[in-house]
Each structure stands twice: as structure tokens, then as C-alpha cells.
């Protein structure tokens, strides 16, 4: 009899425990806000031309965490955004797509751009930062409100930044030939900013920043080649007095061309011509 009592009590207890379910659904609706944000015409244009097409997000609406919180910066005018985005589309993405194939930029590209309207002044220094790249994933372009689309040199400024950073991203996918750094390693310096571009060229570096280290040297060559016409680039090199420096830069140029041809099957001089033509067309 006692055994029955135990069994009844045990079964009752199990029911009591289970009976604590109050009947509410333990998993309610998601508390994450998944509603579509307000999209203006510019947002829709950017989604259609960058996000959907290339999986590249262009951020222009201010988020204090996108930039250095200690700097005094501000967002761009909305009217400044599309011209800069179009410049990237025409003079950077489309030439690569034409020569590298439809998926070239889709596969290898920074996934995010941030556009900042204001100049980015460096504290305690008479210099400004034109652009920043973070781990090949994000590029920040500053002072886009101050670009002059009647002046090709003004348009080239953000393009130089992008070509430079894109060179790094290409290098992350395909490393550069280690022999590149052996061409003239003797004058690489962390104090590169004490040199002018002209002084750096006489030492065999295409810009002062190129004389900072091998990897920067390589992408500065890419940047200068792809933001100048072949004639302008040749004129720049031929203006160098030192024959040695001239030959060193030509040797680097050949290695950059070889890098593009071997690894991506792209003739960099064709790319240069397409980009230069596109940049010329951007000038109002």
C-alpha cells in the first residue's frame, strides 16, 4: 500500500512541476528593430549602384564612431555624395570590371566606404589626412565637400587615396614579389614626411610616402600610375635628374605591370588608359 502511495505522490509531483507552464509562448517576437530605415533618393541610388551591384556600402550619414571621436569633423552635404561615388564608379570600379571581369571588384574590394565632408586636420601639425584605410575592409575619404569637379587634380585626390588603398587590398590577396623591396631599400625611412615628393623621386621613389617602406612604395606606384595618363606619368619620371633614380622607378614600374599581368591578367597600361579617360570625363 505504501508503495502505491509513493507512486501516486511521485506522479503527482511530476504533474505539479510540469503544471508550472503558464501557457505563454516562451519565445516572443524579436526585439531587434528590423524595420527598413527611411531611405532617400540618394540612399536608394547607393543601394542600387554599390550595395546590390558590388556589395560595397557607402556611409555618408554621420555616426560619431565611424571616425576619430577626438577630431572635429562633420558629415558631408548630401549633394556632395553622389558625385564622389560616381567618380569611384567610373574611374575605379568600371575600368577594373572591364579588364578584370565582372566579378573582379565584387570579389576583391573594400566592403565599406565612409564619406566625411570636412577636412581632417592632424593635431599639432600643419598637415591634413586625406583618407584612411582599415584592414582592407573600409576606406574613409575626408573633405569631400571641398572637391572641385572643374579641376582634374581635385578629382584625382580621392582617387589616389582609393587606388593606394586598393593596391594594399590586392597585395593582401596576392603578395608582392620580395625582390621589389631590394631595388633601393637604403632610403626607406619612417621620417618620410621630411622629404618632398621631388626629393624622394631623386632617390628612386615615386612620392615621399613611397619612401616610407616597401609595401607603401608598391601601392604608391600603383596609385600614381593609375591616376595619371601614361604621358603624364612618363613625363613625371623623365623629369627626374638622377639617371639611377629614373631607372629604379622604371624597374618598379615593370614589376607593378608584371604583378597585374601575371596575377590578374590585367594590362595595367590599358587600365591606366581607361581610368584616365574616365577621370577626364568627370571634369565638369
Amino acid at each position: 500500500m505504501k508503495k502505491y502511495i509513493y507512486k501516486i505522490v511521485m506522479i503527482s509531483s511530476v504533474f505539479l512541476v510540469l503544471g508550472c507552464d503558464d501557457g505563454s509562448d516562451s519565445v516572443g517576437k524579436s526585439q531587434i528593430d528590423t524595420s527598413t530605415p527611411i531611405l532617400n533618393d540618394l540612399d536608394i541610388w547607393l543601394r542600387n549602384n554599390f550595395v546590390s551591384t558590388y556589395n560595397i556600402e557607402v556611409l555618408y550619414k554621420w555616426d560619431i564612431n565611424d571616425t576619430d571621436i577626438d577630431r572635429y569633423l562633420h558629415p558631408p552635404y548630401e549633394a556632395s555624395v553622389q558625385p564622389v561615388a560616381e567618380a569611384l564608379q567610373k574611374a575605379w570600379i568600371e575600368p577594373y570590371t572591364t579588364l578584370g571581369g565582372e566579378n573582379f571588384v565584387k570579389k576583391i574590394a573594400p566592403r565599406q566606404f565612409t564619406f566625411v565632408g570636412s577636412f581632417n586636420y592632424n593635431p599639432n601639425s600643419p598637415t591634413i589626412t586625406l583618407g584612411l584605410a582599415e584592414a582592407g575592409a573600409k576606406i574613409t575619404l575626408f573633405n569631400i565637400d571641398f572637391l572641385d569637379f572643374t579641376d582634374i587634380n581635385s578629382i584625382r585626390q580621392p582617387l589616389k587615396t582609393v587606388q593606394h588603398e586598393y593596391g594594399h587590398i590586392l597585395n593582401q590577396n596576392v603578395p608582392i614579389d620580395i625582390n621589389y623591396g631590394q631595388i633601393n631599400p637604403e632610403n626607406y625611412t619612417a621620417q618620410w614626411f621630411n622629404r618632398s615628393d621631388a626629393q624622394a623621386r631623386e632617390l628612386g621613389y615615386i612620392t615621399a610616402y613611397a619612401s616610407s617602406q616597401e609595401s607603401e612604395d608598391f601601392v604608391e606606384m600603383i596609385s600614381e600610375m593609375l591616376t595619371n595618363s601614361k604621358e603624364d606619368f612618363d613625363a613625371l619620371v623623365e623629369s627626374i635628374d638622377s639617371d639611377l633614380a629614373k631607372s629604379q622607378i622604371r624597374e618598379k614600374e615593370a614589376m607593378v605591370a608584371e604583378y597585374y599581368q601575371t596575377n590578374f591578367n590585367i594590362d595595367i597600361y590599358e587600365l591606366q588608359a581607361l581610368m584616365n579617360a574616365a577621370t577626364q570625363e568627370l571634369v565638369n
Binding site: V17, K61, W62, D63, I69, S118
Partner: protein, 464 residues
């Protein structure tokens, strides 16, 4: 023994089964964190959208360095905001985007550029790299009967942005007029040619009157009023610092001025007396141009002593705000008089003066006033004055000319001779090393202000 275990086991199961039904969990908040964030965001967004004719915003970006600016903003449900401001003469309404989002707390973010970003423009001449240290991101701090208080995450103690319902009936037409009226107020605080140079903050409470030298920096919209208090023969200096934001009918100071138990914050402009007035509990604070400085130093005692013996003031030294608009008008008058001397003087003009301040045995000093002929020669009219120093003022009593040029130029130069010959004396103050828009010299500089005509002040430097 076995039965005892069985009983314990049984009792334990029954006990747990009852406790397991206890659902009385204590909740601090009725809603989940995500819901409370959503509610806070909605609260601010609904407030912003509740005013069909927008808000008037007074923004002090950093009240320990700068003054502030007045904005008119109309927030729309499509995520756009229309805006004008008194930051500069470009008052046209611009449209940009805004968002209410959750960052460190509920934030109002002006996501694209508009008037508000003028305050954080690092390209602002004179404030390169920082601008007025403003922001585009404002934390929501509360709503008091429709008045929204926002703060800057970087300048949380010194920055504030307060939105008050605009009270406009037509935002588009009225906001720009208001912004321009506010900008015009910024001119009212500056001395005009007819104003005394002594800008003073005067506080009257009961029978007591306290005069502060206002010390206004028009570039930074910032004032550092200073008062000298005498208590039982002990002299102490009390200084305040605050930023100023102008509104269409006056100005607001931040931080508010707390003095002798009263707090002054809002000042209304009184055109009749060219002053800004704040009345609190019967006490009155006024920013005005007074006939005398708030406090007279004894700097004048050094005049005539080594280091204060030869003084020069020439137009070629450059401009300084320490030479008053009134004195510049006096120079214009001198030039008209000089040209009026005859056709030969068509290109002649006043060039400056030199003051030889070391008195002779009779107490006389000389002042030479230069007239440039436009071709390379400066003629000096020399005049003698009897010099005395009394009650911290300099008295120069005109004796007469001391050379032929002095006689020749006498009539043309009467206005400046009257300036020196002020019957109530001249207020004198040392001003540190010399600085103008053209030059900075290590020479000590000083100002002379006429007590008879306190709109006349001239700046120059000591040669020795």
C-alpha cells in the same frame, strides 16, 4: 534506515514541486531593455515632430571657451530637417537629414551637413582644426514642458543645446527673419563710433552697484567680466567667464552669472540706452557703454618715468581694436581739415603723433602731430601742454604751438588737440606688448581715452 531516506526523498520532491510554481520574479522595469530604448527614441522623435513650425535652438558648444549660436529647426517625418541659424550672414534655410537613434543613450544626430555643422567646421579661419568644437551628435537629456535639453558627448559639462518650441506661425518665412535679427544683435554689443569705449557689466542690487569691465571677445563671443571689490580696505578682483549667444531680442549667457545671490542668464536689448538688461528679483544686470571704466588703475603714475617717456602712435603701425571707432572718425575729420588747407594739400593726411612725456622743470610736455604730404615727407606740428597726474588720470592742459608747423596746422588739428586737452583728463592704461593686425613688438603699449569724450581712445607704443 531505508524508509527514512525514502521519506526525505518524498518530502523533498513535494517541496520542490510547490516552489517550482513560484513565478513572483521581481522586475525593476515593466518593459524589456529593447522596448525601453524604443520608447525613449520614440519620445524624442515624437517631441521633435510635434512642433509643426519647429524649434528655436540655442547651442553653446563649449561655454568655457566660446559663446553660442541660435538655430531654427523644423523636423519632418521623412527624416529631413530644415534649418537656419545666426552663425553667419548665410541664413538661407537648408535641408538635410537627421535621425533619432540609440548610441550611448537616445541621441539626435544631424546626419548630413547643414547650419549646425558650421559650429564643428575645422576649416573655420582662426580656429583651424577645431572650429568652435561643436558636434553633430546630441544626447537626449530630458523634456521639460516641451523644452528639450540635449548635450554633446564630448563637452558634456560645457556644451548644451536647448530646443524650445519656435512659436512661429510660418517657419519658412519667419525663421530667417528671426535668425537675421539675432545676427544683428551681435552687432549691437560692439562699440560704435559714438559709444564710449568703456563696456561695463553693471549690477545694481538695492543700494549697491558693482561695475565689471566687460572684456568681450567678439571673435569667440566670449566675455571675461572683472570687478574690483574693496572690502575693509582689502582689494580683491573677481572675474567671471561666460559665452554669449544672441537671440532676436537680446542675448543669453552660459554659464549663467551668479552674483550676490542672484542668477542672471537672459538679457534683453534696450535700443534707447544701447544696453542689454537682465532683471532678477528687482536686481538689474546691464551690459552697457559707461562713461568711465569700472576700475581705474594707477598705471598713469608711470607716465614720464623711464619706459614711459616717448610714445608713438602711427597709422603705419597697423590697426588695433584698442583704437576706437570714434578715434578713427576723428582721424577722418583731421584728414578733411588737412586737405582743406589748400590745393597743395590734396594728398596730405594725418600720419600719427609722438608724445614726449617727460615734463620739463615747469611741468610741460610736447606732442608732435605728423602730417604726411603723400610724397615722402612728414611735417610735424609741435604743441606744448602742461602735464599733471591726479586721481589716476592724466591732465594735459594746452599751452600753444611750439613751431611754425604747429601754427600752420593748428586749425586743422583742433579735434585731436581737444582730445589731449580733455578737461576731465585722460584715462591711461598699459596694454602689454604691442600688437596690431600688421605687427607685434615687444615694446610696451598703452591707451589714452578722453574722459570728456569717452568714445575716443588711441593705442600706441612706448619707444623708451
Amino acid at each position: 534506515m531505508k524508509n527514512i531516506y525514502k521519506k526525505y526523498w518524498l518530502i523533498g520532491v513535494v517541496f520542490m514541486s510547490f516552489l517550482s510554481c513560484n513565478n513572483d520574479t521581481e522586475t525593476l522595469f515593466p518593459d524589456s531593455p529593447a522596448e525601453r530604448i524604443q520608447q525613449s527614441n520614440s519620445e524624442l522623435l515624437n517631441l521633435l515632430l510635434a512642433e509643426p513650425n519647429g524649434y528655436k535652438g540655442v547651442y553653446f558648444p563649449k561655454n568655457d571657451e566660446f559663446g553660442g549660436f541660435t538655430f531654427f529647426m523644423k523636423f519632418n517625418a521623412d527624416g529631413t530637417v530644415e534649418m537656419t541659424s545666426d552663425f553667419d550672414s548665410d541664413t538661407a534655410i537648408q535641408t538635410s537629414s537627421y535621425e533619432v537613434r540609440y548610441g550611448t543613450t537616445t541621441e539626435l544626430v544631424f546626419t548630413t551637413r547643414n547650419h549646425i555643422q558650421k559650429v564643428s567646421n575645422p576649416n573655420y579661419p582662426g580656429l583651424i582644426g577645431t572650429g568652435f568644437k561643436g558636434t553633430s551628435v546630441f544626447q537626449y537629456f530630458g523634456n521639460d514642458n516641451g523644452i528639450i535639453t540635449l548635450k554633446d558627448v564630448r563637452n558634456v559639462d560645457s556644451g548644451s543645446f536647448v530646443l524650445t518650441p519656435s512659436g512661429l506661425t510660418n517657419f519658412t518665412t519667419e525663421s530667417v527673419i528671426k535668425a537675421e535679427a539675432s545676427l544683428a544683435q551681435r552687432q549691437n554689443i560692439l562699440p560704435k563710433a559714438s559709444n564710449s569705449v568703456f563696456q561695463v557689466l553693471k549690477i545694481e542690487k538695492g543700494d549697491q552697484v558693482f561695475n565689471f569691465n566687460f572684456n568681450y571677445d567678439a571673435f569667440r563671443l566670449y566675455a571675461s567680466p572683472r570687478v574690483t571689490l574693496v572690502d575693509n580696505d582689502v582689494i580683491s578682483v573677481e572675474e567671471f567667464k561666460f559665452g554669449i549667444a544672441f537671440t532676436e531680442d537680446g542675448l543669453i549667457i552660459s554659464p549663467a552669472l551668479e552674483f550676490d545671490g542672484e542668477v542672471y542668464e537672459n538679457f534683453t536689448y534696450d535700443a534707447d540706452s544701447s544696453s542689454y538688461i537682465s532683471t532678477v528679483n528687482g536686481s538689474v544686470a546691464k551690459i552697457l557703454f559707461d562713461q568711465a571704466p569700472a576700475f581705474l588703475t594707477d598705471d598713469v603714475e608711470a607716465v614720464g618715468q623711464p619706459g614711459h617717456q616717448v610714445f608713438g602712435s602711427y597709422l603705419s603701425f597697423g590697426d588695433s581694436p584698442l583704437t576706437s571707432p570714434g578715434f578713427n572718425e576723428l582721424i577722418d575729420t583731421l584728414n578733411q581739415n588737412i586737405v582743406g588747407l589748400g590745393s597743395f594739400a590734396a594728398n596730405w593726411s594725418y600720419s600719427g603723433f609722438e608724445y614726449y612725456a617727460q615734463p620739463d622743470v615747469d611741468g610741460n610736455v610736447n606732442i608732435y602731430i605728423g602730417v604726411f604730404d603723400g610724397a615722402g615727407t612728414t611735417y610735424y606740428g609741435g604743441y606744448s601742454f602742461n602735464q599733471t597726474i591726479e586721481n589716476n588720470k592724466l591732465y594735459l592742459q594746452f599751452n600753444g604751438s611750439i613751431n611754425g608747423n604747429g601754427d600752420f596746422f593748428f586749425n586743422a588739428l583742433i579735434p585731436i588737440l581737444q582730445f589731449f586737452n580733455s578737461s576731465n583728463g585722460l584715462y591711461f592704461a598699459d596694454q602689454g606688448s604691442f600688437s596690431s593686425d600688421l605687427y607685434s613688438y615687444s615694446n610696451l603699449s598703452s591707451t589714452f581715452t578722453s574722459a570728456d569724450q569717452p568714445n575716443l581712445r588711441v593705442y600706441g607704443l612706448w619707444y623708451n
